[in-house]
Assembly symmetry: C2
Homo-oligomer: 297 residues x 2
């Protein structure tokens, strides 16, 4: 399940709780589009903002709505103790893989992070995906640490935060990491802006934010890149430049995609937990114009 | 209560829970030393690693052990909803002030943070201290935002993350902020390394990590600086250079102070929640040597 398009849906939520119906519809739409896997409760899925009970409930809804598509959920938490409990509950409701970010408040060192993965690896029975995104976890992996973690039982994929923009540098970056990890461990790119470059450079998967809302658009890029048509993947990704520009303008993909979901009627406003808010005013109009013009689907 | 030494004790905890007896003893020691206030459940107090029930319990223990010394606790949480609940529970157990960090996972913008403080300000009855530390919250305040927040009801102090090392630049920095906030709002320095420079530059308070474990050492610096004896404050702080060097070496004060607490028998090992750990091996020996040589108390 660690190849192709892994689509990361939002979890619509506000001060009243999780909008379970809207979430279920988002997941059903991904199953209908035949994405390769679903990454529920990722950063985009707001796992960090939910209690353990809420996360288990959302994981269960995802599994029920996903049909034959395998579901992965994040078990990220500040404490190893809570990570282990989340892993247990997620496996009980039928998730097929676990995504583990080294979430931090006080800065973590490499040995803390290795021991976290080691402990979790020894206590789960489904595959693990390593989550590498300093933008949310504030932890920087070295490739050497990736190499050590990738040797652990159950570790099956590494979600990397992006690649250099230039294709030959992207290729070098992916090959350097590949040289340090076992061959059964896949590398998946995240940071949607880097998706085509990353897959063209050898990443086997795309852990995708837009794929969680616009799976057909993301699938077209994924299928082109993974079938070897780098030119077509690049063309399709470059068509989306106005969307990438919005991600830069609004500090990342998260709020833009949450705003797009409200605009398209997938979710009801407010769909984010305070103090987070979707984008209002002129920015919202810009987003509406871009998602319409690009015919995202 | 927002002047002088505000001492931030550790909350000893491990996989079995909070060591309530050790915590109580740490707080009693601060009361005995006559610190000006106690900042329980700050970043040093590990608030981020505890459940709401555990935080309320620790706040209660702090109030009970502090005697006449006023207690402040952090109400930081990713969601406004949880911040409000924490504020309510902390006030019920008798804390005298609330420390509010803009904790983030997805990046916050200035308007998110302003609305967080605005909402909390409208829903509390005790003073608020603004917590500015990008190292843990990953949010960067501008002075303009500080100015807007400082106008809100109940806001009584700003905990700043440090000052420039050069005394004239530190003075400029403190005066610039002072010019933007009401006169009843104090400025307190944090980052122990900057304490003497900060107070000599006009900060009225020191929100202190070492003060939570070695209150007499921290009080001597505070009393010298706030009585106008900048020279003596500087001398006392410079004596602690080997300790500041350890903070730099081990990525901040947190693990060094937690390790020192174990070494001095204030807490039992392990005293941090996994995946965090105190420092072992050669580093631990270095810390033992420094705290003994400096006669911290």
């Amino acid at each position: 399940m660690f190849t192709g398009l892994s689509a990361f849906p939002l979890t619509p939520m506000n001060e009243q709780g999780v909008d379970e119906n809207a979430f279920t519809r988002l997941v059903e739409q991904l199953a209908t589009a035949h994405v390769d896997s679903i990454g529920a409760l990722g950063s985009t899925g707001g796992y960090a903002y939910l209690s353990r009970a809420e996360r288990t409930r959302v994981a269960q809804l995802a599994v029920e709505a996903a049909g034959n598509v395998p579901v992965m959920v994040s078990i990220g938490s500040l404490r190893t103790r809570d990570v282990l409990l989340l892993a247990e509950e997620a496996q009980k409701v039928g998730v097929k893989a676990l995504l583990l970010p080294p979430v931090s408040y006080q800065k973590l060192c490499a040995e803390d992070v290795f021991s976290l993965y080691e402990t979790v690896s020894a206590n789960v029975s489904v595959p693990l995906c390593v989550y590498d995104n300093p933008g949310t976890t504030h932890f920087e992996f070295t490739d050497e640490l990736h190499g050590r973690i990738a040797e652990l039982a159950h570790v099956s994929s590494i979600k990397i935060p992006g690649v250099p923009e230039a294709p030959h540098l992207a290729k070098e970056r992916v090959e350097r990491l590949r040289g340090l990890i076992p061959s059964h461990v896949t590398i998946g790119v995240s940071g949607d802006v880097f998706a085509a470059v990353g897959m063209n450079a050898g990443c086997e998967a795309w852990y995708s934010v837009i794929g969680g809302l616009f799976p057909n658009t993301a699938l077209a890029i994924t299928r082109a890149a993974l079938s070897g048509d780098a030119h077509e993947a690049t063309r399709l990704a470059e068509r989306l430049k106005p969307l990438w520009a919005l991600f830069r303008q609004f500090g990342g993909s998260f709020r833009v995609v949450a705003t797009a979901a409200e605009l398209r009627g997938f979710t009801q406003h407010p769909s984010l937990p305070l103090p987070l808010r979707t984008i209002s005013g002129e920015g919202r109009k810009q987003i509406a114009a871009v998602i319409d013009a690009l015919e995202l689907s």
